[in-house]
Symmetry: C2
Subunit: 280 residues, 2 copies
């Protein structure tokens, strides 16, 4: 297991942690300010959201690399299943944006259950079909697609994948190395079968997301905890991820409307570095 | 698989479905009114909550049986783990109340993670220890203890069991036939490994709870759906439960503050009977 106590090169910031800097929440920092603040603190990379990038993908990617960091990923495709599924053109556009940024990974939050269906089988088949249609383009763009299973509370309208094993099952249906999964502490901390699932997934893990599960979670979406403030066994989860061969970035993604999004971004970033070195 | 299309003898009402009749929500029906209304419609049984029973356990049990039904269960022990864990005396009192009612099953919602712990191992060990301490008394009272795993959104302060496999694991730690698990659609519908887990649990299933998972669930606790209105594959889940040997009551438990709790209880009960015979 990697030792992060004096090394932040694997630390990445998901910009949502600062309240989605460009959408009017939180700090209102520009991408340039985020890049400078992360570079100063020795972050290894940044993950952006599409809404923050607009038409500046190439420029922002260059700024990140000029600051000595990597664009680690882009959030995310439109939903691929369910009532709010996006179009193929929108999927292609998200892949193109990741490529223009130089992001090696594009995250997929699948979307909900297919209209009129019961259970999950139909939705997962549809998911596999839709992803498969975009793999050649993703491959040509050097962009891998990472399905992120979500905590089961997000079933119905946000996801049809609730555990790493579900995402791995869809990977196996597709059978292509261009697709894998992202492991997010918030979504998987409760799953004590995670190590055995990930042991079956060598090479499939495309991302590892850090935060914590607060003992008294007050909001499904927007009350994630800072690493160390919750009940997740962060070191055990990372051990399972790394035992499965993952040696990539650790991306801090904390949606926290009432707490961390209310604090000065510099304080948030300083805390992240401290916690990354001490409890992750 | 049992055919319920013309048979409601396996149908049971969890009184929470009427807004907890005695606590000021919803209808304000007395236990007597609930008993009469269920008996008229051919329900086979009722599940009560401790707060509704007070000192009338023996009397209420007799009323239910005089109306041709069974007391199917009692909700529930105090929490056994976590910051809000109840005392041993309170556990004993809940077992005594179940015995006085003539309820063969007492439900356990475990409580949250043990203070100061990370992950779930410590909490589950503590849970097994606490349950084991009460088994002789439960046996003497003819009351079985049913651990109910909850949807992972309830991690932290309500439960340390998130899937049937977790509850089965604690059963195996305890190793006593007096303890088993309750399977609730709301909590397990997303778990496509449920059939294989339950196949390892013959005799361990002590209850089956019906409701539905709404596509757009708006509240973690209080927005459960009526059977047929959501995305759960109810027949597939019951098939898995029955394939594991369960032939007991199907208990309708719908917490629905904004919808079903606002409707007249007669309408709720009529709808339950209709849906039980058509979609469950």
């Amino acid at each position: 297991m990697r030792d992060f106590s004096r090394d932040t090169s694997a630390l990445a910031l998901n910009t949502a942690t600062l309240g989605h800097n460009l959408d009017g929440h939180g700090a209102g920092w520009s991408p340039e300010q985020v890049i400078d603040a992360c570079a100063e603190r020795g972050f290894g990379g940044i993950v952006f959201w599409r809404r923050e990038i607009g038409t500046r993908a190439v420029q922002i990617g260059e700024l990140v690399r000029a600051a000595g960091m990597q664009v680690v990923g882009l959030c995310r495709t439109p939903y691929l299943t369910g009532r709010e599924a996006g179009s193929d053109a929108e999927v292609t556009a998200s892949i193109d944006m990741a490529a223009a940024l130089g992001a090696p990974v594009l995250t997929i939050v699948t979307g909900g259950t297919e209209p009129g269906s019961k259970g999950l089988e139909d939705s997962r088949k549809r998911l596999a079909e839709r992803i498969a249609q975009h793999l050649d383009h993703a491959r040509a763009c050097n962009v891998k697609l990472a399905m992120e299973p979500l905590n089961p509370m997000f079933g119905g309208n946000r996801t049809c994948l609730f555990a790493a094993r579900d995402a791995l099952g869809v990977c196996e249906m597709i059978g292509d190395a261009q697709v894998g999964l992202a492991v997010d502490v918030y979504h998987v901390w409760w799953d004590t079968t995670l190590p055995e699932t990930l042991a079956r997934a060598p090479g499939r893990i495309l991302g590892y997301h850090l935060c914590d599960w607060l003992e008294n979670t007050s909001h499904m979406l927007l009350d994630r905890g800072m690493m160390g403030d919750g009940v997740a066994d962060l070191k055990a989860i990372r051990a399972a991820v790394e035992a499965a061969g993952y040696a990539g970035p650790c991306e801090v993604e904390i949606f926290s409307a009432a707490d961390w999004w209310q604090r000065p971004p510099d304080e948030v970033l300083d805390t992240i570095v401290d916690r990354f070195q001490s409890v992750c």
